[in-house]
């Protein structure tokens, strides 16, 4: 199982088609693939110019690996991939990609939601929203 975990903290974007191909090379036993993409969304009350994501790269990567290991222990999964970007991003740019794959879909859904929940508050990334009228660090809701 452990060789089917892929983690990256990167500036560059990711490519869904090629990640799905990677997954398919690694497992023929998985019928369900859940892909979560978190992307930059416009603000409700202002025009977002960009989102600046700061990261403590090495620590972020090890924290993500840890949560992937936890997920692999909790659910029967064939594949886990987490890629999180940092740097300056515009509206609709991708921020995070989480792929979980399992024989049956329930495991993939649950593991995906679990990983996202953890990413929100336990991995050292910080987001600053720079908009027309305001500029502020995002707080966890």
């Amino acid at each position: 199982m452990l060789n089917k975990i892929i983690v990256a903290v990167q500036k560059s974007d990711f490519d869904l088609n090629s990640e799905l191909e990677t997954l398919k090379l690694k497992t023929e036993k998985a019928g369900a693939v859940v892909i979560f993409v978190g992307k930059v969304r416009d603000l409700d009350d202002d025009n977002l110019r960009y989102l600046e994501i700061e990261s403590f790269e090495d620590l972020a990567k090890s924290q993500i690996k840890e949560i992937c290991d936890d997920a692999a222990n909790k659910w029967d999964l064939e594949f886990i991939l987490v890629k999180h970007r940092f740097g300056r991003l515009k509206i609709n740019d991708n921020i995070v990609l989480v792929i979980t794959s399992s024989k049956h879909r329930k495991n993939a859904y649950e593991a995906s939601a679990f990983i996202m929940e953890y990413l929100k508050s336990n991995v050292p990334f910080w987001k600053k929203e720079v908009a027309d009228k305001t500029q502020k660090w995002v707080e966890n809701s």
Binding site: G38, E54, F56, D58, L59, A60, S62, Q63, H84, I95, V96, M116, L119, K120, S121, N122, V123, P124, F125, W126, K127, K128, W137, V138, E139, N140
Partner: protein
């Protein structure tokens, strides 16, 4: 204790005005270290966590207990609540 590398992120980095610095310290836990750093300038009061919770990472291990020992540590990071995902 000796020299440690202090790292600052996000709002703490902005307030202190540096991403990192090498500092000679005497303290042996996080709480004492934050107190000790106050002598370096007013901006270090951000570490007292009045406006938001302060997290720290000792040699890349996130710690929540301010009494955690930092003896032998080479790198100590301070940051506000994380907002990934």
């Amino acid at each position: 204790m000796g020299k440690v590398k202090l790292k600052y992120f996000s709002r703490i980095r902005e307030t202190i005005g540096k991403t990192s610095e090498l500092v000679e310290i005497k303290s042996t836990n996080i709480q004492d270290l934050i107190e000790e750093l106050q002598a370096m300038g007013e901006q270090y009061s951000v570490l007292k966590g009045r406006d938001f919770a302060i997290y720290s990472a000792v040699d890349q291990n996130i710690v929540t207990d301010v009494k955690t020992s930092i003896e032998g540590a080479t790198e100590i990071a301070f940051f506000p609540p994380m907002t990934g995902g």
